[in-house]
Symmetry: C2
Subunit: 382 residues, 2 copies
């Protein structure tokens, strides 16, 4: 029967075909406005060039080999970051050759995979526990690779990382002494500060991170260890660490897409941070309009992540997305203007976990589907 | 190179192999306690048999053909529900032959797919807008199939569904008159009432749904239309609609797994509703223990859904999961007992969107991996 036909059927495996009109894309779908995406990449390329620092674009946002390649070819990125070994594997298989796992890897089986991956790509990983150093080195020795390691310091996020420069020095010396590791510097990312709305409060918070990073760099230098990488920063604070004189690699991810949460983070002049534009949307359709002022769309909790707030209906200030259940979104439509099957573009609350829900990016330009990019590392959690 | 070897590599494509010990499963992973899962299925089978109603198990929870087949073979289910056409396609391709899409399908392209699917499975769909009736019938006629249709009534959820029995009668008559449709009854699901913690408040809320369903069934009978299906209910209220004398098909989904949210919903004696057990866990590993009372695990927002609250650490009342970011979970460990790489089982806050994040269920019995079930319809959003 026809239904068995199988792969690459629109509405089953893929949301659209190249050349389709936007209005024919099956919903819910993850849409990239290619013009806005390219402008965001160019903005960040110019910013890091101007500040004289490197960009190591964070692939945890997009998990896409196509986007990672674009960032390295045209967006000024020297390499990429990711968070998991299986993400790194997926991107290395797709040709990315300079990868920082901006995270701790402590499980021996994962460390073995990481060391193996070091045969085909430059691999850098973070360490915050001295007991892991020998496991990393032994695995690299076993596979004949070299792993570069950053010491992670907790500069305010209260997540992973050592709390003071003395601990950092102790671990850095252990790394430098290990036969198959190379000490590469510091990881100093202050995640929760990225979303501080007010720019002066954001500068104050990031200032404490810069101070700890500077102190640690100085202490390491005193024992003869130079940091070739001092990495951190995100879309909310790229220009603070970038102008610090201490950080030299920025790990921004969300700037390519933006989301409703980042859309509230502003620069001193009140404009959205970095003037980055919304380039990522969840395309959704109205599937019910049961009362005059309330419509229901087909994008619920499996179509976007609400951990950082509800999505915003793009360029429709008359509409509010007011609630999500598994498969439905409820939209307040006070003037009753929405029609059944009408399409809306939602700016997701949080781009990273939203992208992880989809198999495909639908790249759109001038109202037509120009690109279908697989979400290469979707679900690569290990 | 070895890394190119490809498919079914533990830690890349799959979290484990059959026969592996639980402690060797790569984390984060979605674990099913097979004994608890089978007991949950048997409990629900006995409940519906005792109440004299049918179970149409909701596959939106698990999206798994293996689990759907088990529910139909051993768990007393007459068929399954799902929410999306592409979910129905995935499950029909895997051999499921009696499928209710417990949701509206209004887009003409999706309706066309649905009508085509009617050639290989019994297909039932919900309608709450009379304008869709002719599109459905024309599509079924075009493909030579028959689609059964339920009228959805909004019995309190304020989502989809018509608001009164007169509108329901009008749509039901249109369905019955359409050449290629068959009127099959009512959809009357009160989702938000499922999680009312107190059993008497839950009965009161569901009582209004039962009243509207009864009134509508009577009105339909007055115009000569019999409801072969009056469907609704979930894990929180299965025994209320089930004993109503009005509902005859229950659409419970979460009972097979349970989650932290449902774990707070109780019966009159204070025990967890239906005595269903936690059978679903996110297996996670401690990846950092940066301060005495705080550990960080490898299960963040991409490993479980926090829309209905944070996960609970299973059988570890000394530990609290206090925060999640994209790739990390923060655990309060007041006695500092956790060790690096120690495994924990998290009861996710909300099972349905959590399962949708994974490619595999790891079925475990007696500490060994006994089954690897693909999440057949993962990401099938269309």
């Amino acid at each position: 029967m026809v239904i068995e036909a199988g792969l690459n059927e629109v509405g089953y495996d893929i949301p659209a075909r190249l050349g389709d009109r936007l209005e024919d894309v099956q919903t819910p779908a993850l849409i990239v406005d290619l013009d806005a995406f390219e402008r965001n990449c160019e903005r960040m390329r110019a910013y890091v060039q101007d500040m004289g620092v490197r960009l190591r674009a964070h692939a945890k946002t997009h998990k896409s080999a196509d986007i990672a390649r674009y960032q390295m070819a045209k967006g000024g990125a020297c390499g990429i970051c990711c968070q998991k070994v299986s993400e790194a594997e997926a991107l290395a298989r797709a040709g990315i050759r300079d990868i920082l796992i901006a995270n701790e890897v402590t499980d021996p089986a994962k460390i073995d995979r990481l060391a193996r991956l070091g045969l085909k790509a430059r691999i850098i990983v973070c360490v915050d526990d001295i007991s892991v150093v020998s496991t990393l080195s032994d695995a690299a020795g076993r596979h004949g690779s070299t792993i570069e390691a950053l010491v992670e310091i907790d500069c305010g996020a209260r997540r992973c990382g050592v709390r003071d420069s003395e601990q950092a020095v102790t671990i850095a010396q252990a790394i430098e002494s290990a036969a198959h590791l190379k000490f590469a510097g510091l990881q100093a990312y202050f995640g929760s500060a990225q979303h501080i709305v007010d720019p002066s409060e954001r500068r104050t918070a990031i200032g404490t991170a810069i101070d700890l990073a500077r102190e640690t760099v100085v202490r390491l230098r005193e024992v003869g260890l130079e940091c070739s990488i001092v990495g951190g920063a995100g879309t909310g604070s790229y220009n603070i660490e970038g102008r610090s004189g201490i950080y030299n690699e920025l790990q921004c991810g969300s700037y390519i897409f933006m989301d409703a949460h980042y859309g509230r983070v502003v620069d001193d002049d009140g404009s959205v941070v970095g003037r980055f534009e919304n380039a990522l949307f969840v395309l959704t359709s109205v599937m019910s309009h049961p009362s005059a002022d309330r419509a229901v769309c087909d994008a619920g909790l499996k179509a976007h992540s609400i951990d950082s707030g509800l999505p915003v209906v793009f360029e429709r200030p008359d509409l509010s997305f007011i609630g999500a259940s598994d498969e439905h979104g409820v939209i307040r439509d006070p003037h009753g203007t929405l029609k059944l099957n009408e399409r809306l573009k939602l700016v997701p609350g949080h781009c990273d976990p939203t992208c992880n829900l989809y198999d495909w990016y639908v790249g759109v330009r001038n109202g037509r589907v120009e690109a279908l990019w697989p979400v290469t590392a979707r679900g690569k959690l290990y």
